[in-house]
């Protein structure tokens, strides 16, 4: 498949929480091996959209949708791609670091072990690889048997990234991954994101516009449940086509 063929495609996607419509006709193509940032004021639907991609809404009572989201040309909602298979291909990193109350090693080994991706004897290699990719290996190589919750907040978040990477997903979803971290830890994660896009397609939700500008190649601006503007980050930030985008990124509202 060509580099220009989008990995993820959203087609006229509408979403409701009960009677409240949260997303209106989202059309979006996420380019391969690039970082796509979703920005917009609180409650505009960014996170709702992100969680639609790996069907985390399946368990939300009253959630329903129309339209489609396609991963490599297959609908994520198709009955044969059940959410479990889908989530193995679409990793997710959450707003707050949420390591399991287990050892550092077990946290990372959890995914591959469950999904039987590797025989047991290959697990240590796999864990090391994931931790290296998450730029955490050097800090935890001697602490693999300590509880994941004993790491610092920034390390915990990188542990969560390693945990997601160990499944070798095609797409990595990040829901404001730095909002609970200090500036130094944030910088490390941002550097990591830029590095990871060599091998992964990343979709990141952020409230931090500087962050979007720093790490992303493409930016989508959500407002009141609609995708107002989508394009190359540089263009969106320097020559926004829509005046609402301009107002938001220049800090006039939001």
């Amino acid at each position: 498949m060509s580099a220009h063929h989008p990995v993820l495609q959203s087609l006229a996607y509408n979403f409701w929480y009960g009677a409240t419509q949260a997303l209106y006709g989202i059309d979006l193509a996420v380019p391969r091996h690039a970082v796509t940032a979703l920005i917009g004021p609180s409650g505009c639907g960014k996170t709702t959209f992100l969680r639609s991609i790996n069907r985390l809404h399946d368990l939300t009572p009253g959630a329903r949708h129309t339209g489609d989201i396609r991963l490599e040309d297959t609908s994520v909602f198709a009955s044969r791609s059940d959410p479990v298979t889908l989530r193995r291909r679409v990793g997710m990193v959450f707003q707050r670091p949420n390591p399991f109350p287990k050892t550092v090693y077990d946290n990372v080994a959890y995914g591959p072990r469950l999904n039987a991706l590797a025989p047991d004897r290959e697990l240590p290699d796999r864990v090391e690889r994931a931790l290296r990719r998450a730029a955490l290996w050097d800090e935890v190589r001697d602490r693999l048997r300590e509880p994941g919750t004993s790491l610092s907040g920034g390390q915990q978040q990188r542990l969560c990234i390693a945990r997601a990477l160990a499944n070798e997903p095609d797409v990595l979803l990040m829901d404001e991954p730095c909002s609970a971290l200090d500036p130094i830890a944030t910088q490390r994660i941002e550097e990591l994101i830029v590095e990871l896009k060599q091998s992964y397609t990343i979709v990141i939700v952020t409230h931090n516009m500087q962050q979007a500008a720093r790490v992303s190649d493409y930016t989508g601006f959500f407002y009141l449940g609609r995708l107002v503007e989508f394009g190359q980050t540089e263009q969106v930030f320097t020559r926004p086509a829509d005046e609402r985008t301009e107002a938001y990124i220049t800090g006039r509202f939001g």
């Binding site: 889908l86 193995r88 990793g91 949420n98 399991f100 959890y110 995914g111 969560c160």
Partner: protein
């Protein structure tokens, strides 16, 4: 320099209230201290090797022990736990993870009613279904009665503990591709394990001292028996029989049995505390 009257009164009321609360807490603790003290005073002197290892001697003779009742308690409560723990934990997990609908509401309601059911009623129930049809009192019938008492307690504690597990952990597991049932068992239940174990120990301690539901199920037995299908003695039944009996020797043994039973319950409570500490006390 004198304080304004209002301030004096405020200080006085404050002191009075603090004293009152301290007194009431002391009263609560006093109950346990008195019971334990009394038991030790009247029972400890009868505790010796023979008490734990020998079976009763014929009425009127001195000596003998309650080995049969100690073993019996272990067997009756053991079988009760074997039945009650899996059912209780399973029901609690179900309530916490899936019990949002009408069925969950119903199960929770039934558990609450069962929790408040007098234990003697549960005993009669077990008698009706497990003793009368068979025509014989049995330890198993006693275990079943105790299990019925345990299940709602353990189900509700398990539910509370599982509900305490942060939702973010659940989502983390689901996002890794965990099926829902495995998320419940491997992540949610494991995280709540400390609390669940504590609940189980407290539940076991609670039924270990039950007498009423055993009166017409396990019945009691003056001889040593390990057959679950026959009448069996437990410490609680032993206390009941000996304390109401006519012999001083029996009263002495009843006090000692009560001390042993109390010690057992205390031990379980301490174990529960210890498990909780292991889980939540250390580390960050």
């Amino acid at each position: 320099m004198s304080m304004p009257a209002r301030q004096v009164r405020r200080h006085a009321v404050n002191g009075l209230m603090t004293g009152l609360i301290a007194m009431l807490s002391a009263l609560a603790v006093l109950a346990l201290v008195l019971i334990l003290g009394d038991l030790i005073l009247k029972g400890a002197s009868s505790l010796n090797w023979a008490f734990f290892t020998e079976n009763p001697v014929p009425a009127g003779e001195t000596g003998g022990g309650v080995a049969h009742a100690i073993v019996g308690t272990a067997i009756v409560v053991g079988f009760a736990a074997l039945i009650g723990l899996p059912v209780g934990i399973g029901a609690g997990l179900y309530l916490a993870e899936f019990g949002t609908g009408r069925l969950g509401f119903f199960v929770r309601f039934v558990a609450d009613v069962l929790n408040g059911t007098p234990s003697i009623v549960v005993g009669i129930f077990a008698w009706t279904w497990m003793v009368k049809p068979v025509g014989r009192f049995s330890a198993l019938a006693g275990s079943a009665a105790l299990a019925i008492l345990m299940i709602p307690m353990i189900a509700r504690t398990t539910e509370e503990m599982v509900r305490l597990v942060p939702h973010s952990l659940r989502e983390a597991a689901l996002a890794l591709g965990y099926p829902r049932w495995r998320t419940s068992l491997r992540i949610v239940a494991r995280t709540a394990l400390g609390g669940i174990v504590t609940g189980c120990l407290v539940g076991i301690a609670r039924v270990a001292g039950e007498t009423a539901p055993l009166l017409f199920t396990a019945l009691g037995n003056l001889n040593f028996s390990v057959s679950p299908t026959h009448p069996m003695q437990t410490l609680s039944l032993q206390i009941y029989v000996y304390a109401t009996g006519p012999f001083d020797e029996w009263h002495r043994l009843a006090w000692a049995s009560a001390l042993v039973l109390m010690g057992l319950v205390l031990l379980l409570a301490i174990a529960a505390r210890w498990v909780t500490r292991q889980r939540y006390g250390t580390g960050r």
